[in-house]
């Protein structure tokens, strides 16, 4: 956008913020039309039945918007005026009119979708719904998996009211989900379910030394391959199984060593037989039907259980210690719950993954819910299982088997149907102690009112409680019991618009129009905060501060924001904000071309997780937002390190690793999520990457291409087909109508040429990580920005953003976080707030936490 346009935009918005027309019509558009178009499309001639001088310039309320779009597109692709016309506009004139019309369309769109700069009522997103039920019921289940998939608004955010529709199907699901969760809690049997218990002493797997071989028969047997301790062995565990007729549990150890004192088993992350070789070579064996690269070649400690109570809490207790490896490497305890689904087919999910540093035996306890795992086999007769891995793997380091850290497991206990108390705490939270407990009508009202207050995230009026108690009374005659009636009544609470919709009543409504802004009350503020930072409902602390009317005070707010960021639930922010801001879904929209790469689809999850963990790290460690552009660390696990060819990274889950320059990693732009998500799946795509930088990092989205121009010219005939992508790009930019736009986009994508479609580093004239037929490439990351600035490579581009584009980048981050925090598009009226936040953030070393704090303290956040 040229300067003159920046000014006219401002002037336009200030003068008529609510009405967009083909705005600058009189001064900019009409003169062009008069000069070049009206002779054929005017009073004298109406070619194609089109009369441009009579088109209504009001793009919002007028009826000619479609026609204007047509005009814009035809001018843009140089189809109009036709070549044979005598008066031909200069390139600059053409560009000018295109920019003017494009801008008008954007303004019209903004005006149309405007909410007047106010937050609007919206439904909880599927993920917010899930987290809210989790926190409301204190029961961590996958509630939202069956809800219809949800779209994203124009700028990528899913919590925008405009994309959160509701249908009968939603209501049905909401009803079913709420009812089944409440029944699980409230209608649980009176008697505590019998636990299923198994204790495993792994040393029992190792047989005593065999007796000397004496008979011929024994000698014959010995010649056959023998199962040796450590390569797989079954024993019966010490157990209590409710149904005695059912087969007992089995313990199986695969490639564990007996510990030196003989009291347990040592589990490493790699088998002794795995050779330390090229750390970047393919895994020796990809195990399991899913090829998850884990089962089948990693030492494993497994307990198989038949007809286990799978839909209930599971308590896992493990006594173990760490045997540290070389260079302070510590083992990682990872366990999974799963089941066998057929011969050699199993399904499982990880339940915990923690580093073990204590060299003294300690007991570790975990409680997980079986319903969240594929813990029940869908094939009768196949067992469920529990298994442990040591998730410190060799990765790209060169540790030998002896040097690897190991888990020394003394014993393991698994208890299914695990309840600390009965009735469950979840049930007791709903049916709390009260002096009216025996007076059903009074007690019902108390139960309903308390539940409603938390579900609606605010105090409820007597009238509201009356309505629900009336419902209770009505249902009481239809339902079998008091408890069943409560289930149905609370189900209605969880389907109410007061629960499903986030709404903030207007101060005054006169003839359907809200007349004034007002400050949020403390309960509304608590919800805004918690859905912003936790993607869930407020907790007790926030409710309490709200009830005391303390929350809105700046110092209290700030303290709460910090507390909330420190809480593990802030991962909700990092995960959802990062996914939507960075368009991580793009990874899954794209497939890797097998003609170019050997790639396991599953590894796409690594790309996504890296970016989420990176954003989370910046948040948790209170780093500056410049870290998003460049950092001296990366969030890696061994598998991703292998993908990036970074040596020396062992361990398990994602952790922060300092990265030296030679590996070319740092910031969001060198992450495979962005690099792959904006490739073609085979080759790089500088345009997509450039658009991503402009849209996501600089909040300066380029005008959409005229709809009839393909991304790149499709190869017509042999000549073009043989061109590389970058050469086609150049070819594309030769077309006059494309050149001007691409001069603004391509230079932002070309510096990424050192990263192939999977985001792996490459340089020179060959990419050895691609299949042979496609290795020859001419890699040239140098380019020139529209303003003439020369950029040699990505490092250069990063420097440029961090210096000359610093303020634009800061504003972009603030705007993105703010749009997410408010759940709406930002508008012109938000500008002063954004500017003020940016100023403060700039003074506070650009800290990411400051961005969040200042947004929370800003007027748009505090008012309705």
């Amino acid at each position: 956008m040229t300067n003159s346009f920046g000014t006219s935009l401002l002037a336009f918005l200030v003068s008529i913020p609510a009405v967009a027309s083909a705005g600058n019509y009189e001064t900019e558009i009409r003169p062009f039309l008069t000069k070049y178009c009206v002779s054929c499309h005017g009073p004298n001639k109406q070619k194609a039945d089109l009369r441009l001088d009579k088109l209504d310039p009001d793009l919002i309320n007028g009826s000619d918007a479609d026609m204007w779009q047509e005009v814009l597109d035809l001018i843009n692709i140089s189809e109009m005026p036709p070549k044979e016309a005598s008066a031909q506009p200069k390139r600059s004139e053409r560009q000018f009119i295109v920019d003017a019309l494009t801008l008008s369309f954007r303004q019209a769109m903004e005006a149309r979708r405007s909410t007047g700069g106010r937050n609007v009522i919206r439904r909880l997103t599927a993920y917010e719904y899930n987290n809210t039920l989790r926190d409301l019921l204190s029961l961590d289940l996958q509630y939202a998996v069956d809800l219809p998939p949800e779209g994203s608004a124009k700028e990528g955010f899913k919590n925008n009211s405009s994309v959160l529709g509701t249908s009968a199907l939603h209501i049905e699901y909401f009803e079913r989900i709420a009812r089944s969760a409440l029944e699980r809690i409230i209608l649980a049997p009176t008697e505590q379910p019998t636990p299923y218990f198994v204790r495993v002493e792994p040393e029992l797997a190792f047989k005593p030394e065999p007796a000397p071989v004496t008979t011929e028969n024994q000698k014959k047997k010995q010649r056959k391959p023998k199962r040796r301790p450590g390569s797989g062995y079954d024993i019966k565990g010490d157990h209590f199984v409710p149904d005695k007729s059912v087969r007992g549990p089995l313990f199986r150890i695969d490639h564990g060593e007996r510990s030196t004192d003989g009291s347990g088993v040592l589990l490493a992350g790699n088998r002794p037989s795995d050779k330390v070789g090229d750390p970047f070579a393919a895994d020796r064996k990809i195990g399991g039907s899913q090829g998850d690269g884990r089962s089948g070649y990693q030492p494993e400690f497994r307990v198989e259980m038949y007809e286990v109570p799978h839909d209930a809490p599971v308590l896992v207790r493990v006594q173990l210690s760490a045997v540290p490896g070389k260079d302070d490497a510590y083992p990682r305890l990872s366990f999974e719950l799963g089941s066998f689904r057929g011969a050699n087919v199993s399904d499982q999910k990880e339940a915990a993954n923690i580093e073990i540093r204590s060299t003294e035996p300690k007991v570790y306890e975990f409680v997980v819910h079986g319903a969240n795992f594929p813990f029940q086999s869908n094939k009768p007769g196949r067992p469920s299982y529990f298994r442990i891995f040591n998730d410190y793997r060799r990765g790209t380091s060169h540790l030998t088997y002896e040097e690897l850290p190991k888990l020394n497991i003394d014993w393991v206990e698994i208890k299914c149907n695990h309840y600390d108390a009965w009735p469950s705490p979840q049930k007791k939270a709903i049916f709390f102690d009260s002096e009216h407990r025996n007076d059903e009508p009074v007690y019902a009202r108390e139960v309903i009112a308390r539940f409603m207050t938390r579900a609606y995230r605010r105090p409820v009026s007597d009238a509201e409680v009356d309505r629900k108690t009336a419902l209770f009374r009505k249902l009481r005659t239809q339902e079998a019991s008091f408890e069943a009636t409560i289930v149905s009544t609370l189900t209605a609470v969880l389907c109410s618009s007061n629960f499903l919709l986030l709404s903030e009543p207007e101060a005054t409504v006169v003839q359907d129009v809200a007349t004034e802004r007002r400050l949020l009350n403390d309960y509304e503020l608590a919800s805004r905060l918690s859905y912003f930072l936790w993607s869930s409902m407020p907790d007790e602390t926030l409710f309490e501060l709200a009830s005391k009317e303390q929350l809105h005070k700046s110092n209290v707010l700030l303290a709460q924001v910090r507390r909330m960021i420190a809480d593990p639930k802030s991962e909700g922010f990092s995960r959802n904000f990062a996914s939507q801001w960075l368009d991580l879904a793009g990874i899954h929209r794209l497939a890797v071309n097998p003609e170019y790469f050997d790639f396991k689809e599953k590894d796409k999850g690594l790309f996504e997780e890296e970016s989420i963990q990176f954003v989370h790290q910046v948040l948790k460690s209170n780093l500056g937002i410049d870290t998003f552009i460049d950092s001296e660390f990366a969030m890696l696990n061994p598998a991703l390190a292998k993908h990036y060819r970074i040596p020396g990274i062992g361990g398990g889950s994602f952790q922060q690793h300092a990265i030296s320059k030679e590996y070319h990693r740092g910031g969001l732009m060198t992450q495979a999520s962005m690099l792959f998500g904006n490739s073609t799946g085979s080759e790089t795509h500088p345009i997509k990457r450039g658009v991503w930088v402009l849209e996501r990092l600089l909040d300066d989205p380029p005008a959409p291409p005229p709809p009839n121009v393909p991304d790149l010219p499709e190869p017509e005939g042999k000549d073009l087909a043989n061109l590389s992508l970058k050469e086609r790009l150049v070819e594309h930019a030769q077309v006059e109508s494309c050149r001007d736009c691409h001069a603004k986009i391509d230079p932002w994508g070309v510096p990424f040429e050192n990263y192939n479609a999977l985001g792996q580093w490459r340089e020179g004239s060959s990419d050895p990580l691609v299949h042979k037929a496609h290795q020859a490439v001419n890699i040239d990351p140098s380019t020139q920005l529209k303003n003439g600035k020369r950029i040699q490579n990505l490092d250069d581009l990063k420097k440029y953003i961090l210096t000359e584009k610093k303020s634009q980048f800061r504003t972009a981050v603030v705007r993105k976080v703010m749009a997410y925090g408010l759940g709406r598009y930002l508008e012109f009226s938000d500008r002063p707030a954004v500017d003020a936040i940016c100023e403060t953030v700039g003074k506070e070393n650009d800290s990411f936490q400051t961005v969040i704090e200042q947004i929370v303290l800003s007027e748009p956040f505090l008012t309705k």
């Binding site: 249908s167 199907l169 209501i171």
Partner: protein, 467 residues
């Protein structure tokens, strides 16, 4: 929420062949609905949407003979190309149509047009968006009365998608998108698994609860601005629609759910295993029809523009991404590759139709296909061009559908050569110097044969006598 398969009591399922499905429930069904209704009066409709268009090579292109989607010839005298060859065995039950399109979007890019395939609404290319009722819902308003579920709405991507990026084919009276189900397990449960032993009580409870939800929303409404009231209105409408469903469920309460053999179904399958996924979705529609759980179904194979998991469907025939095939027709073997994918769809579609044909109509004459009309098509033909929709009608002989023909409507594009061979989207709104008939004319014709008394649909101008 229950992620397991446990909710189905496997012992209750009948094992054995399809004929074993003449079940006791059926007797009670007929008694209940209408003792007078003969099963031959049963009429069914299923519509399928294929995104991305079809191969339309130029006449002089070597690929024209084998890989042009439209058949060669005309009327009864036509030959299928390799794209549709799998339908040859069904030839006497099949009509291929060309020269039809929805007039309001003929100059809108094909990527935006899945939304209006069954509605004919002027959904436009940008700006304000308004849709209208879809063909299947018009029919469901009538046929849905006879069955437990008024219509099945399915797609590979699920949900509603976004305006002009629909992930569903079906739109209600108000033109609002009806979210599509995409998980086979959920569809199966909805059709065949009883959610509660105590259904009567639950429905009464639901009725009271829904009244209560309305009251909640009404009281909230008073405090809202006009803008917010719109959002709330959508919620209210959803609750009302749910009430209608509950009312209906009440009427069906005493009729036991049909039992079906599930052993051959892969209910956990995802589009990453495309052939099995597609087969499972077809099978679920087949089972729903066979058990008369519904008489109306839509299934959108994929959304437009290669966004979403449906783009993996081409992997069934060894390609990477579906949408890319449409862009690579000029590469060596490009037409053949694209055509091979179309052929794969024809195979699966033909398999489904053949299965209906091989199944006798329970308690009636002929086979199921004779009482079922299938519409299969796309809102674009050559390279995202929103004209000359590729369309196939199958079945419905008992309703009077005439088959074994290739019908080409309109004038001036007899050989489908307008914009043939296009390999970029440049042509999507090229000048249209030929004529086509509104697709809604076909819809009116279909509705009439399906027994819906109407003489118009969307922008229709008449009916098609040849169909």
């Amino acid at each position: 929420m229950n992620p397991n398969f446990s909710s189905i009591d496997r012992r209750k399922f009948l094992r054995g062949t399809g004929v074993a499905l003449a079940l006791p429930w059926f007797e009670s069904f007929t008694r209940f609905v209408n003792a007078a209704e003969r099963t031959t009066d049963r009429k069914r409709l299923a519509c399928f949407y294929m995104p991305d268009g079809i191969p339309v090579p130029r006449q002089d292109d070597p690929a024209f003979k084998d890989w042009s989607w439209f058949p060669h010839g005309r009327g009864k005298d036509f030959t299928f190309t390799k794209c549709l060859e799998p339908l040859e065995s069904l030839r006497d039950d099949v009509t291929v149509l060309g020269g039809l399109s929805h007039p309001s979007v003929r100059s809108i890019h094909g990527h935006s047009n899945a939304d209006q395939f069954l509605t004919g609404a002027p959904t436009g290319g940008h700006g304000e968006y308004k849709n209208s009722i879809s063909l299947d819902q018009m029919f469901a308003a009538q046929a849905g009365e006879h069955t437990r579920i008024s219509s099945l709405v399915l797609s590979t991507d699920g949900g509603t998608g976004t305006p002009r990026g629909a992930q569903t084919m079906s739109f209600n009276r108000k033109g609002r998108a009806i979210p599509a189900e995409h998980k086979p397990k959920r569809i199966f449960d909805m059709l065949f698994v009883k959610s509660d032993d105590d259904a009567a009580r639950r429905l009464a409870v639901s009725k009271s609860a829904l009244d209560d939800l309305m009251a909640d929303a009404q009281s909230l409404k008073k405090t809202l601005s006009k803008h917010d009231q719109k959002t709330l209105a959508e919620y209210l409408q959803s609750v009302r629609d749910t009430e209608v469903k509950v009312e209906k469920a009440k009427r069906w309460m005493d009729i036991p759910l049909p039992t079906v053999d599930v052993d051959h179904l892969k209910l956990d399958v995802t589009p990453e295993d495309p052939r099995n996924y597609l087969q499972t979705m077809f099978e679920l529609i087949y089972l729903a029809f066979k058990t008369d759980s519904t008489r109306v179904a839509t299934y959108q194979f994929g959304r437009e523009n290669g966004v979403g998991v449906s783009d993996y469907l081409a992997r069934a025939v060894g390609f990477n991404l579906t949408h890319q095939l449409t862009h690579k027709t000029k590469e060596p073997g490009g037409w053949e590759n694209f055509g091979t994918y179309c052929r794969f769809l024809s195979e699966e579609y033909g398999r489904f139709a053949s299965r209906l044909k091989a199944t006798p109509e329970v308690g009636g004459d002929g086979n199921m296909l004779d009482n079922t009309v299938l519409l299969f098509g796309s809102a674009s033909s050559a390279f995202h061009l929103s004209r000359n929709y590729p369309l196939i009608l199958v079945g419905g002989k008992n309703m009077g559908f005439k088959h074994g023909q290739f019908l080409k409507y309109g004038q001036g594009n007899e050989k489908n050569q307008a914009d043939a061979g296009a390999s970029s989207d440049k042509n999507w709104r090229s000048e249209m110097n030929y004529e086509e008939l509104p697709l809604s004319n076909l819809f009116v014709t279909m509705l009439q044969k399906l027994g819906v008394e109407t003489d118009s649909f969307a922008d229709s101008t008449g009916t098609l006598a040849e169909v």
